[in-house]
């Protein structure tokens, strides 16, 4: 079918539009579109580009704050972090492509989020990845884990941005739909921020970077569709990454911007030339004329339909004043990059394109971008999971249970994953992966930027509101463990189909949980991404609202440590007994998917996190957050194979809740004896329990005089390493 053939309802359906959306399109346009116009509508009205099901609820997220320079709606969020510096950050999903073709899917996911950040004039200084896989023994799962990790590794390492953190979890609900969420944090001077705006009629539109091929056509539409058995047939719609070109784009774009040679800039991400041109024009209230014959191509005979919808990677669209066009093209040439003048900015709010001397399409901007369909999808509020009916948890074999827990996929050590990522390129990594949060210096300064990604999707499945709220609270605690105060959130909301009222209910509850917690803790949500239709053959994933949080240490004086030292005293800040509802102990040891997941106690969380952050900054304590698996797994994380601890809890404690309880905003702290008075004084008025001291090569826990746990530290520390042993390959 020719690209200029007249479209019809049947074709609209094939493009993923509903009949009522087709009617809406006809009314907005006042005529029947041709095929390329239909393709453009379907891309911009896709869930991925238009947020048509989520926008009504995303408004609930607090986006304001004294540090906020740019909230949602641009390529990435921007917050001030002191001394004229800003942090620019965003997290984005690349789930469907990564399931179909894990290596390229994950690689191009990293590439896309990097472009969102450097597009704004910021140099990317760290990347994090939040990954979700299915049952480790499910078919294809090792292939997927391995492919995703190699994709992130080969792409991220080449572009020279350190990968410093993230998380990985396993659950059968991801068997047919893994999650790959990538987050990038960049830095810029406050007066050096650029926006994706096509302003100034008469300015030129310059295409820069890789040539356009036929890869990735309709990627945005694919991302807005559920999976079925035919997913493998969609492999050709996965884009292919070229990290060298990305690296050159980073350097060239930052140089173009620092020299003031561009007016506006945006990458050609989902829906390629379509979304970049329409969105930039929309933000500036202008229009564009495009000469599609000028678009650099790497294949013969490409049609306007393919040119507009290709998702070939590593391409940027620049708006440049007439006098600077040659300078831009010359600088690009120096970096070995193609740059071509393909159009002009016009005052009239339309995008008009020509092809082979004749018109290709002409579309008004407002109906496609600002007046895209919005849906108030019906939803059913989730009932929080019922409280568990627990067996009598007394005199159990706690040691064996701890070992079972530590060997479970959910408690896996991600070391074998992050050792494949360059964590220290940039020579600014103070704390890298494996810690509660990462800490990286802004180049040339002592300002530390901390970042973490968090989401306990098992808890979110039990209670989306409290689970999402707890993800925010956990992120705050993780930042505190490296001494940082939170300054902003980016979220990546991964859910099933919004057309399913139960899923939509999970989505609404999770947003409200994030919104309420961020509002009370005064942390603005400045960017984010929604990924719907994460379901395969009708089976939805667990609700997974991944929280990416950025924090600041105004001046880094000490390296925060994640492990204890011989002779130190150990304390729990917060209640000694945690809650078992929604805990890993229930899930893994008792096989119960049961709640309740407690609500966040905002006042206590904030007080404790602030004091811990302060003590870490002063170098008084080593801290870790008590979360997945409870106090005992925190003890194993903080210890080492040859250095254990001897702890005593009150004889009448509920041992299961002390050892394995979660939630309630608790920290494990290690402190030199000389600093104990300072710790006690700083925590005055808060619950603080001294448990014992570091020493020996075993982890010993006594309830009064009775030993309830005594295990070899070497054995305990080795267990979380087992799950990914196969990744070691042939290395001896």
């Amino acid at each position: 079918m020719r690209w200029d053939a007249e479209a019809n309802l049947e074709l609209a359906r094939e493009h993923g539009l509903h009949p009522q959306e087709w009617e809406r399109l006809l009314a907005a346009l006042g005529r029947t579109p041709n095929l390329v116009e239909l393709g453009i509508f379907s891309a911009l009205w896709s869930e991925h580009c238009s947020y048509k099901s989520s926008r009504a609820h995303l408004r609930k997220l607090p986006a304001q704050g004294p540090r906020v320079i740019q909230g949602p709606g641009e390529n990435a969020g921007v917050v001030a972090v002191g001394q004229g510096w800003v942090a620019v950050f965003k997290m984005e999903s690349h789930n469907h492509p990564s399931f179909i073709e894990p290596y390229q899917g994950a690689a191009t996911g990293v590439g896309g989020i990097l472009r969102d950040v450097f597009t704004m004039g910021a140099r990317p200084i760290m990347a994090l990845d939040s990954l979700r896989f299915g049952d480790p023994d499910a078919p294809r799962m090792r292939y997927l884990v391995d492919g995703v990790v190699r994709g992130i590794s080969d792409y991220g390492n080449c572009v020279g941005v350190p990968t410093v953190g993230g998380e990985v979890d396993f659950h059968p609900s991801y068997n047919g739909n893994i999650l790959v969420n990538a987050m990038v944090v960049g830095v810029a001077r406050e007066d050096g921020i650029f926006y994706g705006r096509a302003s100034g009629p008469g300015n030129h539109v310059v295409y820069m970077g890789s040539k356009t091929g036929r890869d990735g056509i309709h990627g945005a539409t694919m991302a807005s569709d559920a999976f079925d058995e035919a997913a493998a047939a969609k492999r050709p719609t996965v884009q292919v990454g070229d990290p060298l070109t990305e690296k050159l784009l980073i350097e060239c774009c930052l140089e173009l911007m620092s020299r003031g040679l561009v007016v506006g800039i945006q990458d050609m991400g989902a829906a390629g030339l379509t979304s970049s041109s329409f969105e930039m024009a929309s933000r500036a209230g202008c229009g564009l004329v495009l000469d599609l014959d000028a678009v650099p191509v790497r294949e013969h005979g490409m049609t306007p339909y393919e040119l507009m919808l290709s998702e070939s990677q590593e391409r940027m669209l620049l708006i440049v004043t007439p006098g600077n066009v040659m300078s831009v093209i010359n600088l690009c040439k120096r970096w070995g990059l193609d740059a071509t003048d393909i159009g002009r900015v016009i005052g009239e709010p339309v995008v008009r394109a020509t092809f082979r001397g004749g018109p290709a399409f002409e579309l008004p901007i407002a109906p496609l971008v600002d007046d895209a369909p919005r849906y108030e999808r019906p939803f059913r509020r989730p009932e929080p999971a019922a409280p568990a009916t627990l067996p009598a948890l007394r005199d159990r074999d706690w040691g064996t249970e701890l070992k079972t827990l530590l060997a479970a996929p959910q408690l896996v050590s991600a070391r074998r994953i992050w050792q494949q990522y360059d964590q220290s390129v940039g020579a600014a990594t103070v704390v890298g992966p494996g810690a509660d949060a990462a800490l990286v210096l802004i180049p040339g300064t002592r300002i530390g930027l901390a970042a973490t990604t968090d989401c306990n999707s098992f808890a979110c499945g039990l209670d989306p509101y409290c689970g999402a709220a707890q993800a925010v609270a956990e992120a705050v605690r993780n930042l505190a463990c490296v001494g940082a105060e939170p300054v902003g959130v980016t979220d990546c909301l991964n859910f099933g189909s919004p057309e399913n009222p139960t899923v939509m209910g999970q989505f609404v509850a999770a947003i409200e949980g994030v919104a309420e917690t961020c509002r009370v803790l005064e942390i603005p949500v400045v960017s984010g991404n929604v990924s719907f239709y994460n379901q395969t053959s009708g089976q939805s994933i667990l609700p997974t609202p991944a929280i990416g949080m950025v924090g600041v240490v105004a001046e880094v004086r000490h390296v925060p440590r994640g492990s204890w030292e011989l002779g130190e005293a150990l304390y729990v800040l917060g209640p000694l007994e945690g809650e078992l509802g929604g805990s890993r102990y229930l899930q893994i040891i008792l096989g119960l998917e049961a709640g309740p997941v407690p609500a966040v106690d905002h006042v206590a969380e904030r007080r404790r996190s602030r004091v811990v952050a302060e003590l870490v900054r002063l170098g008084v304590v080593a801290a870790t957050d008590i979360s997945d698996g409870g106090l005992v797994t925190a003890l194993v994380r903080m210890g080492s194979p040859d250095c254990g601890a001897d702890l005593t809890i009150p004889w009448d404690s509920l041992v299961a809740r002390v050892l394995f309880g979660e939630w309630l905003g608790r920290f494990l702290l290690a402190v030199q004896p000389a600093c104990e008075p300072a710790l006690v004084q700083a925590c005055e008025g808060m619950e603080l329990a001294r448990l014992g001291t570091v020493g020996g090569d075993r982890l010993v826990v006594r309830a009064g005089k009775r030993i309830v746990l005594s295990e070899s530290m070497a054995e305990l520390c080795g267990l979380p390493e087992r799950q990914l042993e196969w990744m070691e390959g042939v290395q001896g």
Partner: protein, 234 residues
């Protein structure tokens, strides 16, 4: 070569895809040198007394790590500089390039695990009587990060023998106490080679990254002396 009492000038070569170039520039300055960025298309080392080939993915490491960079215009100048006895330090991808142009012997294979590895390793200093190593102590153990996929040094047996007889091994992977052991070798490199030095001691190639270790806040200062030796040789 100092220039009228000014700081010694060190050229840091930038290839398309270099990604440790800015770290190298900063490290040279931090240890008292004047860092001069030199573009890959230049044939002029701008009166620098020493050259640093930084890590990264020069030309995407397409074909083979370092293979394309070896044929770039700037490398003709670097070779001339080396032939005249000028100091050259190649770090990671820079080491791979030095092997590709034959300034140092052998070749790099993929790591034994066939995976990229980034972690701290210990290396023992084998020579301290040469210009690029004279700031170090005999037998000194350094803790430095590696970050590479192709660091598994290989050469045919005759070459390995020659390398050992010449004392061309500058650094070897070892355990924290300085014992050179098979289980301290991260990538399968023959003879636990982590770094090689030319006969005159003016060309040094190494896989670990000293430029990332010149600050207490950033993992330690074990890279300081190596960077300083380069500046002193300039």
């Amino acid at each position: 070569m100092t220039d009228g009492g000014r700081r010694p000038r060190v050229a840091v070569v930038i290839f398309p895809g270099s990604n440790c170039d800015r770290d190298a520039l900063a490290a040279v300055e931090a240890v008292g040198g004047e860092a001069v960025p030199v573009w890959h298309q230049s044939r002029d080392l701008q009166r620098c007394g020493a050259v640093l080939l930084p890590g990264g993915y020069s030309y995407g490491n397409y074909l083979r790590a370092g293979a394309m960079a070896a044929h770039s215009p700037v490398m003709k100048a670097v070779r001339r500089h080396a032939d005249q006895g000028g100091a050259v330090l190649g770090i990671c991808n820079g080491f791979q390039i030095l092997l590709e142009i034959g300034l140092l012997p052998g070749a790099m294979l993929m790591n034994r695990s066939l995976r990229f590895i980034c972690r701290d390793v210990h290396v023992r200093v084998e020579r301290t009587d040469l210009p690029l190593l004279r700031t170090l102590q005999p037998g000194q153990v350094l803790r430095l990060p590696i970050a590479h996929k192709e660091g598994n040094w290989f050469a045919e047996p005759a070459v390995v023998r020659e390398v050992e007889q010449q004392g061309a091994v500058a650094l070897r992977y070892c355990d924290p106490s300085g014992q050179v052991r098979a289980d301290a070798n991260p990538n399968g490199s023959l003879q636990n080679v982590a770094g090689l030095v030319s006969r005159e001691g003016t060309v040094l190639g190494m896989m670990p990254h000293p430029e990332r270790r010149i600050s207490r806040l950033l993992g330690g200062e074990d890279g300081w002396a190596l960077m300083r030796a380069l500046v002193e040789a300039a």
